[in-house]
Symmetry: C2
Subunit: 252 residues, 2 copies
DNA sequence: TTGATCGGTTCATTATTTGAACCGTTGGTT
DNA sequence: AACCAACGGTTCAAATAATGAACCGATCAA
């Protein structure tokens, strides 16, 4: 792995739980020498990608990332364009809707919307990674990924057989499902999303409170998901594969 | 300059005007060998920081930057926290308000808010860089930067003497001003912002349509800017320097 | 056909990265 | 007060990774 990769890996160490860390902690977590880590960090700091905060000189993500994100959204309005659809999906189902993207082999939460209908709802955090083995989104994405890439990811999962079942189900019905796997009492349903080349790039999901689930609600969720999934894919100029388009009952 | 710096410099080549570029164009613009450029790009692509789009395989910013930005805002809510203040400032003055941040020696637009009062307003774009020599924000930031850093930046400007005058004005009155320098018929007024250490980190500005400017409007703008500047600095736990706090008529 | 440019690759040369040991500080314990 | 451990940061010879001229096949225009 090159130097740049090591530097970028450092950025992945920052999480919601630990948004800033000291030099030694970062070096330890990344498996780097302290001196190496320091050089990478100062180099990134000089471009504003990270910055040092407080008297302890801890490092955290810098303001330059905001510019990059604004530029990305302006060039490819993935998030902003999907937000209205996401909100309507949350409203129509009365549950929490969320959007995720496949980035470098991981499923990254991009956006979410809560419904106002219920006091109890599934809460989410932005910028987290979803585990492929325990989410409907993961199964939906894997189901429509090129076999080679799907296999590569499946090989890293604890229970590939179970996930394969969910993938088959998704290919047959047009949506994937998990019940109380990611979090207890959360009923997840998801559909895949596609880019212009017809490649699966992410998923759209509804996370419902399991105790509330009824056949009627379930029917609403799958129908709304198909509609919203087709809409977001269309917004991006994406191509839904023909078999899936039939299941979703939309024009190819 | 290290390898990481070169890679990160590539990211700065993407702009609103040119959100995606081919390999050769990037190499040329960055002054890199094509092979070197390619290696850096593929390394960044593997982490999702850039991606390739379309049949021409042009490169553009990738989805990973969205995660980084969301994480940054969650840890240090610079933009989100300031938005309400920015909107109130635009409403109170009837003009365009914007917020900028000093990042790696450049002034980066972070956010802006339009007023609904007038049909004609100064329009802005996010994620652009403001020139120090032609904006009130630039003068305001330079006026309260450590002398060494200010001098370093001033040395790169076309007309440092004029900018020094604006800086002096800002130190005396608490706000900086430019008329028709950045764009014709735009009257800019700005105040500096500070972090916890009392270091100047950015500026808050109002860009007004020059023909509309009256002594009364001008008084409103400077008063509202002082209020809003103090508020944003306070929101961040920042320290306004004592002399400036007196000018703004706020508690030290 | 020719020629120019594109994205991408190769590999000997070269320059950069690397990491053990070091420094000065800080903060808690004895 | 003395001690110790951990912190952020620096040094420099040794080792590794970055570099770039030349090259490939493809595309496009003349």
């Amino acid at each position: 792995m090159g130097t740049v990769g090591k530097a970028l890996d450092l950025l992945d160490l920052f999480t919601h739980q630990q948004p800033q860390m000291g030099l030694s902690a970062l070096a330890r977590a990344a498996g780097l020498n302290k001196a190496t880590c320091h050089r990478l960090l100062t180099e990134m700091e000089s471009r504003g990608l990270v910055e040092q905060a407080g008297p302890a000189r801890e490092y955290r993500l810098g303001p330059a990332v905001l510019r990059l994100a604004a530029l990305r959204e302006s060039a490819v309005p993935t998030r902003d364009a999907a937000m209205p659809v996401l909100r309507r999906l949350a409203d129509a189902t009365g549950e929490t809707a969320h959007l995720s993207h496949l980035v470098a082999g991981r499923l990254q939460t991009l956006a979410f919307a809560y419904s106002a209908h219920h006091g109890i709802k599934v809460t989410m955090e932005d910028a987290d990674f979803l585990p492929f083995h325990a989410t409907a989104s993961g199964a939906a994405v894997l189901a429509f990924l090129p076999e080679a890439e799907a296999a590569r990811i499946l090989a890293t999962l604890p229970a590939p057989a179970v996930v394969r079942e969910r993938m088959d189900h998704c290919r047959q019905h047009g949506w994937a499902e998990t019940v109380s796997t990611f979090e207890k009492d959360v009923h997840g349903t998801a559909v895949p999303l596609f880019d212009t080349a017809g490649t699966c790039t992410g998923a759209l999901a509804v996370a419902a409170a399991a105790p509330r689930m009824t056949p009627a609600l379930h029917a609403t969720i799958t129908a709304e998901l198909a509609r919203a999934g087709a809409e977001i894919t269309a917004l991006r100029g994406g191509q839904v594969p023909a078999p899936l388009a039939r299941l979703w009952q939309i024009p190819a």
